[in-house]
Symmetry: C2
Subunit: 297 residues, 2 copies
């Protein structure tokens, strides 16, 4: 399968020598002053476009948090459509972090909305919530034959993730059961790299669980949130990678897109997108270093 | 608490003598021929508006399936904004079936998007997915003090719901654990009726589980899908109600909005919205009868 999402993602990570996904969670209240006079749609479009232009030679993959756009209704969604178009043009892989999940007939609409080629909100991959079981994921699977990807929530990075995800079942904690389902559902979509186009979201701030999941599920590609603003260190998120340094991409959102607000960038008299570029390079290098050390062991 | 969503919903159900929520799942491919020449946005707006006008004296509550609108990007969302505005004007309660769930900082955006008064997509209530635990629900709770409602997925009506929701935990099946959380989280929002503004989605096509949940969770208001196109009968969904005939609202979507496609309505030479009106009355009366019989026992 030449057109496998996991293969394509890995190729892009290597090509740009970066394992860091830029998370685009644009929140008007956090925008730099120069954008504050613009109406919401225009401000969202400008913010995303400036950052994209500033980092497009560095960044292999961008994750868009759809909630930040939905908050502004159809105008916000228009801004997201524009940002997705620009991302596509730049050759950067896009992940739409929408965490959808519904009954089968409804999930078909979501799959069409986010993975079909001609959809206004078409992205390269989406995140999905597994609570409704297989038929919420099934309508997305045919798209995996066409270089599209899916990341199913297995273990999230928020404090109350444990409420449900760590409930003990007969076989172990619930998140392990979900991981087993993801492995099974994803088997037909394993690429040359050995990873499936059906991946998983696995929190970077739970080192023990990350270690367990990495060792037990070698075919599942991980999208790892929790690095940066949510507290996970480079050393911790490095546990998401296998012994060859493959099998995961690490996301950071607020630490990068709002870098202009914090030292040393806030004192530098630079544009917000320049701060994002510098913060991205810094985080990317730290991450590469941590993974090099992990691979050596 | 005078402004409690559950109280308000119950009042409206009694006022209109109907326990049937109209589910608006507009799919272009299923639209009547007379709308097929319109561009998607216009067709969606027309379809929803015609049905709304036709049933507004009968229907206490409408559930909008956001996926059907998202499928068409920002244009679809514009149509949803228009439909929500018209629903608000008509005095009918709106439930946005979006099944959202994300980490706390992101769920805040969803809560603002769907429950704040001035949001373009503001509705009276939403559905939420509990997989991320309490902090995905928490940002919605402050709105419950202002006549807004939330229905958390507890047991869904799709075939593979069992994959996760019926996994056995130490305390019983997972969905029971979720119901216990919903009860606890919803305690501060119980109205004069004895029901909380934090309700639950409970499938109508699992009679045993419905019976169990009804008897064990008297304070949780149920939104019940699965009636009609998904196969549950009146007798089955009647199990969602308590001995006074309270505590639930039953949803039907395709059976009502596409009634014009099936006998006897397809042979009647009437407009699609007239078929919906007739089908609504028929289903409402059957449901009222079934619940009367349940209450008698």
């Amino acid at each position: 399968m030449d057109e496998n999402f996991a293969d394509w993602l890995l190729f892009n990570l290597k090509k740009k020598d970066s394992l860091l996904c830029l998370g685009m969670d644009p929140v008007l209240d956090s925008f730099p002053r120069e954008l504050s006079s613009l109406p919401p749609k225009k401000a969202l479009i400008e913010f995303c476009a400036q950052i994209l232009e500033s980092v497009e030679d560095l960044v292999p993959v961008i994750k868009f948090q759809i909630a930040c756009f939905e908050r502004h209704g159809s105008e916000g969604i228009e801004a997201l459509e524009e940002a997705l178009r620009k991302t596509r043009k730049s050759g950067i892989i896009s992940i739409l972090d929408c965490k959808r999940g519904d009954i089968g007939t409804i999930s078909e609409h979501y799959a069409e909305a986010y993975l079909s080629e001609d959809a206004p909100l078409g992205a390269d991959a989406v995140t999905l919530n597994p609570f409704l079981g297989f038929d919420s994921v099934e309508p997305f699977l045919p798209f995996l034959k066409f270089k599209k990807g899916v990341f199913v929530l297995v273990r999230t990075s928020n404090p109350s993730a444990k409420n449900i995800q760590e409930l003990g079942t007969k076989e172990g904690p619930l998140f392990l059961e979900v991981a087993k389902m993801v492995r099974k559902w994803g088997e037909p979509f394993i690429g040359k790299s050995g990873f499936s186009a059906l991946g998983a979201v696995v929190a970077g701030n739970s080192p023990e669980e990350l270690t367990l999941l990495r060792s037990q599920f070698p075919s599942i590609f991980f999208l790892v949130p929790g690095y940066g603003a949510q507290g996970a260190t480079e050393k911790e998120v490095a546990l998401a990678f296998d012994q060859k340094g493959n099998g995961a991409v690490i996301n950071s959102s607020r630490q990068l897109i709002y870098a202009f607000q914090r030292p040393p960038y806030s004192g530098m008299n630079i544009k917000f997108w320049e701060a994002t570029r510098l913060a991205y390079i810094e985080a990317r290098d730290k991450l590469n270093q941590a993974i090099k050390e992990r691979v050596k062991k």
